[in-house]
Symmetry: C2
DNA sequence: ATCAATATTAACCATTTGGTTAAACTTTTT
DNA sequence: AAAAAGTTTAACCAAATGGTTAATATTGAT
């Protein structure tokens, strides 16, 4: 799998759990299946992670942190807004291309257990205020048009994430169910989403 | 519940099943819970709908058809494109406001069982080709800028649906977890999404 | 009123499932 | 090398779960 991770039992379990949980979700996954996937006895799962819930939380936390990475590091720099936003969209869709099933998984579990979601968000101290303020400053300085900065954030996330979360459906509806064609489409979206957003919000000085 | 529906056992079951399935999904729902919700014996569920799968399919089909309504009737008319798109976004977000949990439910189950999804799509003969061609004609006639019409469709759907599917998360991140504030935000999006899209694609003749 | 068809229930069943236990095997410590 | 600590397994268990059965109640036709 990855380069530095040791091939010990705990990691084998985590890898197996990730595979199964992400495909089938908490409710649809079976401890026995995870054990099989990891090539170990089921009792050993409970030796390392006492309960299914505990094991699931480990996987969900990891997945959530992967998909809500340090947005700050991406969006704070001295480059012009246009470039920062472009870089963000590109990096973010690239991230999703590497983990195409994470969005559906996260959305599924978010709706199943919002309380756990809250605890995670609090724990890792995501702070959207700064980003919203940054967007507001751009509106004040006139580079982008006035709007609710939360709309802009939701739009950016939606345009990036939705095509992954609804992948099977979009692929079926618009791409003759061709996996390759849909994947190419998603790759092109690194560019087209960027343009779509900028065309909408950039104030053109002529 | 609704005005004309009879209060017979079958409808009580369907209502109960809808409530439970939409909240907990196929895997998370229990036949016993549906029976309780309907106020009947569990065996009666199997008398009307032989298996859990059959009952689930009835609910999913209904939900899917609700959320993918006859787009055609909304988007084909002799009014200018700008108005047709505005009407569509408005009507569609209104529909979602009335069924705010459908998007998460659909996305969840779409990813669980894509084959069943395929059978439904085929059965009700959704045909996106017409809509894509219509969009292409608008680009040729110069009212909107050139782009992949599938991008536009995915964007419209994503901007409309994502804030519902990711509701709990967005509400927590950007709205202090206030249900009312988030609901008001979603209502405002009937307008802001429309503007966001049109600003991006409309060709301004000056 | 009677009988057949339909609707409803309580009790039951086989299987699945998350979790436990006690024993065996392996590694580390002394 | 012996003891202790850590790791792994086979067998087991109680609860939950989808589904069935046989008996009872209700409805509709004649």
């Amino acid at each position: 799998m990855s380069e530095l991770k040791k091939d010990n039992t705990e990691n084998k379990i985590l890898d197996a759990a990730q595979t199964v949980f992400i495909e089938k979700g908490m409710d649809g996954s079976r401890m026995q299946e995870i054990a099989n996937e990891a090539g170990i006895n089921k009792a050993l799962l409970h030796y390392y992670f006492r309960t299914k819930q505990k094991l699931f939380e480990a996987i969900f936390t990891k997945a959530f942190n992967q998909i809500f990475p340090n947005i700050k590091s991406l969006i704070f720099s001295d480059k012009p807004f246009e470039e920062r936003l472009s870089a963000f969209v590109e990096k973010y869709i690239d991230l999703l291309l590497k983990n195409p099933f994470l969005p559906a998984f996260i959305l599924k579990e978010i709706n199943r257990d919002p309380d756990f979601l809250a605890s995670i968000i609090k724990k890792q101290g995501v702070n959207p205020e700064e980003i919203l303020h940054m967007i507001e400053r751009e509106m004040e300085s006139g580079t982008i048009r006035r709007m609710d900065p939360r709309d802009l954030m939701v739009n950016i996330l939606g345009l990036s994430i939705f095509p992954f979360a609804a992948g099977p459906l979009m692929q079926m509806l618009f791409f003759s169910n061709s996996k390759k064609e849909y994947h190419d489409f998603l790759k092109r979206r690194k560019e087209t989403v960027k343009i779509f957003i900028l065309e909408s919000i950039l104030v053109k000085k002529d």
